[in-house]
């Protein structure tokens, strides 16, 4: 009985689709802001007259490795939660 889902039940499907797409866009943007800040710290120490190719490559790698890390953590978390349920219980408590 998810209250937000039941609340969405009477909503026009097109509006619903619009909201879902907007929510996804927002998540994408939020992550772009977060990664820009993090990778800026790692790759652009002293801002110069232009973004040199080394900083550019570092930024691209930084995004790729950050997503890798995120995927790796989620995957490993799912495996751990299958074997021992203690953590998930304390979380949903």
């Amino acid at each position: 009985m998810d209250p937000s889902a039941s609340g969405m039940g009477s909503v026009d499907p097109r509006l619903r689709h619009f909201i879902e797409v907007e929510t996804q866009k927002q998540r994408f943007q939020q992550l772009v802001h977060q990664m820009t800040e993090l990778c800026w710290e790692k790759c652009v120490d002293k801002p110069g007259p232009k973004l040199d190719s080394r900083a550019e490559a570092c930024l691209v790698n930084c995004v790729e490795r950050f997503i890798d890390t995120s995927r790796f953590i989620v995957k490993r978390l799912e495996q751990t939660q299958k074997s021992k349920a203690g953590f998930s219980e304390s979380l949903s408590d």
């Binding site: 998810d2 993090l38 930084c62 950050f66 890798d68 890390t69 995120s70 978390l77 979380l91 949903s92």
Partner: protein
């Protein structure tokens, strides 16, 4: 809803912390030693989360008992 939001918050903070700790200069792939570091980091972070959770819980219960 809250449990999901809570897990996402934990995930986000853990990813940020362990990425900063384990990835010095981001290279062309997540190499083996980086993966090991992330695995260890996330286990310790969840240990810390559980310890903090328990300590805070027991503190609140002690305070309620003293009221």
């Amino acid at each position: 809803q809250i449990a999901v939001a809570n897990a996402q918050e934990l995930l986000q903070r853990m990813t940020d912390k362990c990425f900063r700790k384990c990835i010095g200069k981001p290279g062309g792939s997540l190499d083996n030693s980086e993966q090991k570091c992330i695995a260890m980091c996330m286990d310790r972070y969840m240990d810390a989360w559980n310890t903090v959770s328990r300590a805070y819980n027991s503190r609140l219960q002690r305070e309620r008992a003293n009221m």
